[in-house]
Amino acid sequence: METIIKLTGINKVYRTEEIETQALENVNINVQKGEFLSVMGPSGCGKSTLLNIMGLLDEPTSGEIELCGTKIDKNLSDERLAEFRNRTLGFVFQSFHLISSLNVIDNVQLPLMYRGVGYSERIKRAKEVIERVGLSHRMKHTPVQLSGGQCQRVAIARAIIGNPEIILADEPTGNLDSKMGADILGLLKQLNEEDGRTIVMVTHNEQQALQTKRIIKFLDGRQIM
């Protein structure tokens, strides 16, 4: 199996003038290509921090990150990091993080826009992925006109439109009722099983975690299982 995410000796310390908080302590994780991994643990244990570091949204205080065989150099410029994120990673957030002033199709095509893909190609691919998440009839709607479940479907469409190797989902069902939550999890499983995408999902929900291929648990910034 090919290792697609490799975290070695990751530490993350938040410092203020008065206090120092160790959010992650010597974390070592390998995620294989095509894996669906759940990260569990109580609030404040460092799950989201871990996901942010994996997704190059945050920098570790120390340690090494390797994604898709590329070692992420600390001195990499913002521009290169942005390019890397754009091509390799897709994000699904608990609170959807859709742009309220854009409609569904404009939200979904965002990653392709920053990749420099032409307008007609963007629209074509956006329509395909929106259809895949079952929202063809909502393309011109803005996020406020959609339900929570529909918003998360849009967010998933946005995460997969650029065909990234890795999808990072931070409590994707956290803001949804159980039926919608199950629905979204089903969609993520489908992406994992049918497309072979690697998914790392942070969740509180043990039942959902059990449906993924592997679970790791965190407590106080340390991996305990």
Binding site: N52, G55, L57, D58, D78, E79, A82, E83, R85, N86, R87, F91, F93, S95, H97, L98, I99, S100, S101, L102, D106, L110, P111, M113, Y114, R115, G118, Y119, T142, R158, G162
Partner: protein
């Protein structure tokens, strides 16, 4: 297409946050209106505007002479009728040459429709008949005086419709009537559409043949030089001809008159002609040559316009920038999302500035209308319109037409003002906001 999405988003955000948009647009409108009024003053001074529709081809020829031994004496003068005839009547590169008595020798006159009636103070201009070919006056009635009138010093005049209304309470049926100017009767031969007093080279209340002037200097000139006098030469160049070509044609006369000047005096003199296109004259750009001193003079005359325009833009920009900072705070999460999906900082900066430009352009359009309303509605207010007006006495009213205002140049100026204001207001808040780490942006309460 990316641009279209940004514009669509900007419009959507305008609808979303109406209060912010309204205040921002109003602030921008006031700033642009103020700057546009200053720009308009400059535009009126420089552009082709009724009746000075050929400013780009009009050359003003004056002369300076100096005592070359330490420049103890410096003089500026025009030309005597004799010199004018000799120098300017056979120029090959001139389409029209007009003689006008220099403002230095002209004083206001009293005018009334008949003796005993109320007198008003008016501004005269003493010209030849070509004056009405050089400047394209709109004759509402009658026609200009001609060469014959000039030769015979006929007391015939052309007046503006505004003066006709003042004196006769009508602007039609005035031709043939008599007006008392300084208690002497003059016959009206034509009525022209009033010219804004800001167009100093062509505006007057009344136009008279220069031969009726009682200005002694006009004809006699200086005792020691027969070429000198009170006439200014204004040349409309033929299309394709240049100022340099005109200077070349005039050079032999300069040499001739300089030698005459030196033969009548114990001093050695130097003498040069000021051959200035309209824009150089407007900016008091005296020299014929572009050198450090002349550039400095030009800049000194130009800088006040630029400084005041920038101040009009800068002060509101500081307030708008504060508003933009707040807005960028509220858009932090959005910026975080965009960065998470691969947007580069530079791309986002361009986006924010473009979106803001849409808002600024709405304000700019409102400001443009506001300034044109100001100009048409408040004719009595001279504060802005006589800005930097060193040469002319205050005017009673200001006649401005909207066609002076709605021109491609003024649209361009308005757009540039908007772009500058937009950059001043949006650049720093956007840059500060985009420097924040992605995680901090994403965690911002939306």
């Amino acid at each position: 297409m990316k641009v279209l999405i940004y514009i669509r988003q900007a419009l959507a955000m305008m609808k979303e946050d109406k209060q912010f948009s309204a205040i921002y647009i109003a602030g921008t409108a006031v700033a642009i209106a103020s700057a546009m009024i200053v720009a308009l003053v400059l535009h009126i001074r420089m552009a082709n505007i009724y009746p000075e529709v050929n400013r780009d081809r009009t050359i003003y020829v004056g002369s300076n002479f100096t005592d070359s031994v330490g420049a103890r004496f410096v003089g500026c003068t025009g030309y005597s009728p004799m010199a004018f005839e000799e120098m300017f009547s056979h120029l090959e590169c001139a389409e029209v040459v007009s003689a006008v008595i220099s403002n230095s020798y002209v004083y206001n006159l009293t005018a009334c429709s008949e003796l005993g009636k109320q007198e008003i103070l008016i501004t005269p201009k003493f010209t030849d008949a070509n004056f009405f070919r050089l400047y394209e006056f709109k004759f509402l009635e009658g026609k200009p005086y001609n060469e014959e009138n000039l030769t015979h010093a006929d007391k015939c005049i052309v007046i503006t419709d505004a003066l006709a209304k003042k004196l006769f309470e009508k602007s039609e049926g005035v031709v043939g009537q008599t007006i008392q100017l300084n208690y002497l009767p003059y016959r009206v031969v034509g009525v022209v559409k009033e010219v804004s007093p800001l167009l100093m080279d062509s505006s007057a209340d009344v136009y008279l043949p220069y031969t009726v002037s009682d200005s002694r200097e006009t004809f006699r000139g200086y005792d020691m030089v027969s070429y000198a006098g009170g006439l200014e030469a204004r040349v409309l160049l033929k299309k394709g001809c240049t100022r340099e070509m005109l200077m070349k044609e005039l050079e032999p006369y300069r040499v001739k008159y300089l030698s005459m000047l030196n033969s009548t005096s114990e001093h050695k003199w130097s003498w040069y002609m000021q051959v200035r296109p309209h824009w150089r004259k407007t900016l008091n750009f005296d020299s014929n040559e572009v050198n450090d001193a002349s550039t400095q003079t030009m800049l000194l005359n130009f800088i006040p316009f630029v400084v005041i325009m920038l101040l009009f833009l800068l002060l509101p920009a500081i307030n708008l920038s504060g508003m933009m900072s707040n807005r960028m705070e509220s858009r932090l999460a959005e910026m975080g999302i965009r960065k998470a999906f691969g947007a580069k900082r530079r791309t986002l900066l361009n986006q924010v500035i473009l979106e803001n430009l849409v808002l600024t352009l709405f304000g700019g359009a409102a400001g443009y209308l506001l300034s044109s309303l100001y100009i048409t509605a408040i004719k009595e207010n001279r504060m802005f319109l006589t800005l930097f007006d060193h040469d002319k006495a205050p005017v009673d009213s200001v006649s401005l037409q909207l066609d002076m205002f709605f021109t491609p140049t003024m649209f361009l100026v308005a757009f540039v003002c908007c772009a500058v204001l937009n950059l001043m207001a949006a650049l720093i808040p956007a840059w500060n906001s985009l420097r924040k780490p992605i995680v901090e942006s994403l965690n911002q309460k939306r």
